[in-house]
Symmetry: C2
Subunit: 443 residues, 2 copies
Amino acid sequence: MFPSASARANFFAVCLLSVTALVPTASAAQTLPPVDTSVRQSFERVLSDPRVKAALAAIERAEPEAIQEQFRLTEIPAPPFKEEKRAAYYLDLLKARGLDEAYLDEEGNAIGLRKGSGNGPLLLIAAHLDTVFPEGVDTSVKERNGRFYAPGIGDDTRGLAAMLSVIDALNASGIETEADIMFAGNVGEEGRGDLRGIKAIFRDHPDIDGFISIDGVRMGRITNGGTGSRRFEFRFTGPGGHSFGAFGLASAIHAMGRAIAKIGDLETPSDPKTTFTVGTVAGGTSVNSIAADAVFAIDLRSNDRTQLAILEQKAKDAALEAVAEENARWGRGEISVDFVLIGDRPVGRTEPSSPLVQLTRLAFDELAIEFRGLSISSTDSNVPMSLGIPAITIDGGGDGGGAHSPDEWFVPTDSHLGPQASLLLILGLAGIEGSTQALLPKL
Amino acid sequence: MFPSASARANFFAVCLLSVTALVPTASAAQTLPPVDTSVRQSFERVLSDPRVKAALAAIERAEPEAIQEQFRLTEIPAPPFKEEKRAAYYLDLLKARGLDEAYLDEEGNAIGLRKGSGNGPLLLIAAHLDTVFPEGVDTSVKERNGRFYAPGIGDDTRGLAAMLSVIDALNASGIETEADIMFAGNVGEEGRGDLRGIKAIFRDHPDIDGFISIDGVRMGRITNGGTGSRRFEFRFTGPGGHSFGAFGLASAIHAMGRAIAKIGDLETPSDPKTTFTVGTVAGGTSVNSIAADAVFAIDLRSNDRTQLAILEQKAKDAALEAVAEENARWGRGEISVDFVLIGDRPVGRTEPSSPLVQLTRLAFDELAIEFRGLSISSTDSNVPMSLGIPAITIDGGGDGGGAHSPDEWFVPTDSHLGPQASLLLILGLAGIEGSTQALLPKL
């Protein structure tokens, strides 16, 4: 049951690099405000456009090829901080679609711009290139019993494929939008990537007015809340020494234990949901040495910015008190602690009354996608939400499971619904030149 | 200053396998009882034997070749639990010396027996084959600035070489001892080896009446006390879950932290010296997961058997209380803890009035070796001491440093004094047929 020390250590090293699961926290039971009449009318005008009908049909027809592209993308590994190969390939795909601009930015994001008629808002659509899987993991797609298995096949290669389908459909339709639309295959959504791709885009493009993240597989949820997280390594250091010969020295591990004990007793509100855990721990050099160093990684989260800040302060205070106690226990002030920020995902929220949410619901209804509720989660949308820019995360279509595990799988059942819903949402927000106005306000 | 998580983890894995330093704890200031007249007289009779004088001179003459053998032995790696190659070579060396018996026992110890005249006691002399260094470490001997560097060159290859010199000197002298003398190159002295070689010999040979361990380099100390140690892994397990989605689950790491905090506040006597430390810690799978498992390794030591038992119970109680607190904190009894014994070195002591200690002091005086005091430490002698069998650990001669580090070094300055002192001690204890009686009592 317990792996060997050596196997454990390797496992630990791999795992530290990985997982930030997308864990929704809302139920489908929310009652949403009624859809604004103006939004509904605009959406109906979009739907009645024969070019739109043709574009929806084109998406469905082209879906088998889109799935093949999804599999090709899956088989190009994109470990955290090593998305270059997949980014280069994705950039080629964007360029092949004849966008007005297509380039890699300094952070490594593959970006394409489809200009609108001018004077409209700027809408960003993105799916993330990175997976949680380290180098060397076999990403070849294997079919078993009707399921397609490969690490990363859904999260978020499905989003990347769906975005290409949307671009193809827009191009084939001959529709000109009022808004400029920026498409991004972005880096660094997972784990220690810490949303670095999307952070860079919003830093470089302060003129973006709205954001849609296409992330995941199964349609139905609208993620309109961004759980904030702050992650730290708390690093304890001291002189260390022989367990017997130097007995009486303060220990980095003992100080760390005291800190964990105190943190374990912290109280947080259940609403807004605020949580903490010391997720990993390592330290010491041998069983018979007073530890000279010890480190833990702590995950602090909240759906509320203030609660998150309060929790962070409490955790740091607990560690400082623990160090003081350990030093006082032995009469020498030799242990110290440093706080190293290793993750920072801002809290954010998009109002359910936002045209992004309203249009998504209308698109779901039109495509007979069951609405499974609003959710609060940690996605690329956290970044714009925290900046006051309306943003949502929706799924890319199809079915799947096992995200962040080597047994991740995907089934393309009704997967065309993903890009179809995105297309309708985008057209509603971006407006169709000569027909409807962009519902996305310019900020 | 802080290595990466991955480097740390590998380091941790290596270090868990290694080090049990030999840390003496006594000063040279002890006042020893006067040497018994009978011991002094017997020792003087040994000294006056011309064959003994010739044997001492032979050791000094043969020392350069002994050093070469020491280096050859050093270059045969003997990692913990992997001493086979060095043991086989050492057995060949014993066989080449024409002992009455020479064999490998089931534990892997290389054993040779030099029979005495009959009806005498049985004296065991040993040096340990194993080093602390894992496989793959370069053990080639390199000379720099008059020092010979190689991992394990002193600890305890020096002891192995000194023992060979003693056998050669006995053989060349033509002396028959009254006692049977067993020579062992034994396995498992270091770290997790947990004295397994010597434990096996005393299990298989309940008729041994006394023990001399030759371990280390610089002469002068007599280790007549065995610090006892009990080492455990405390393994905490629970269900684990997502840090945010499953918040409210008890954490294996949090329970472990509570245990460490409590252990950090334990009180132990300074005399008999009794110590504890949580030396290493590992746990968790990712920063954003409530930990399903966590483990620490704890070192408990004392120079007193009862104090060691009390300390062990306190540490276990602390962990059980910690688990109960963590489970109560979240209202669910999901964390548990197991105690896995990973090291057990019994407490022991040989009286300063023992002929082993008295004869060693006389030998030191005769050879003008400065007596640097009695010491209490953790060596192979712990095992016989704990069984009530007189035992001491003395050094093998020469000078050196950096034991247990890759920069371990050795200088053969006056190194012949090591086997010379051992020879005099052995002859005093074993008796010379036709001249002196064995001072080692039959038990």
